[in-house]
Amino acid sequence: MEVGQEFIPLTKEEITHTQLVRYAGASGDFNPIHTVVPFAEKAGLGGVIAHGMLIMGFVGKAIGTWFDVNRLQKFSVRFNSITRPGEKIIVIGSIIGDTNETWLCQTKALNEKGEVKITGSFEVRKN
């Protein structure tokens, strides 16, 4: 590992309505904008949107392929845009700096068109 290194991107399968229902149940986030189409339409969202935390979960999955998650110290994201069923998410990341003990990394989740869903950073203990 070295500063400047880019990680192998993680490509997820297309998000489905079923996955949103499943994630709602697993996470306990039953906000109906994620699962109930008429509610989401009434809310002016033009249909259901994915839980931001699901997309952050994808980023967490990517981090777990790049590092031992038990060494993760900090993980911060901003949700830049909404994601809908049918979209495919790709997670990229790189090491942008380090200290004696820690790798400082940045990450992004994008769809296939390159629209940014999440920008984030994380810190991982070297040993």
């Binding site: 996470s27 911060s76 949700f79």
Partner: protein, 135 residues
């Protein structure tokens, strides 16, 4: 309740037992087949959302207490600081408070922080999130 009055609100402490089955279910919902989650050797980095939603104040309750209009509420930012290992089978206790609330052009931003302690009373995880209410 004015926006400013929301700062300093503390929610009731909540306790949640870290069950192996729940870890698996959550990892599978994300589509994360990392064997360390299956074995209960680690928690997915975003697992604290389960603790919050199932153990504590879920989104709907939170919106009610903060007088937010649910259809207008979005998640803006999320941060986790991992300070200690949370073990499977352990009970963790979380306390959530509102640390900031500001109004921007067409939205209100409310910052919440949850401190999680293990059974020994050690601070093991801090979750910080920003909730957006569109006007």
């Amino acid at each position: 309740m004015s926006l400013r009055d929301k700062v300093g609100i503390h929610f009731e402490p909540f306790t949640f037992e870290i069950e192996k089955g729940k870890i698996k279910e959550f990892a599978m919902a994300i589509g994360d087949a990392n064997p360390c989650y299956q074995a209960g050797e680690a928690l997915p980095p975003t697992f604290a959302t389960v603790i919050e939603m199932w153990g504590g104040t879920d989104f709907i309750e939170l919106a009610e207490k903060l007088e937010l209009e649910l259809p207008k509420v979005l998640h803006g930012e999320q941060e986790y600081e991992y300070l200690g290992k949370i073990k499977v089978g352990e009970r963790v206790t979380g306390v959530t408070s509102v640390t900031n609330a500001i109004s921007k052009e067409n939205m209100d931003l409310i910052k919440l922080e949850t401190h999680y302690k293990n059974e020994a009373g050690e601070l093991v995880l801090i979750s910080r999130n920003t909730v957006i209410e569109r006007h």
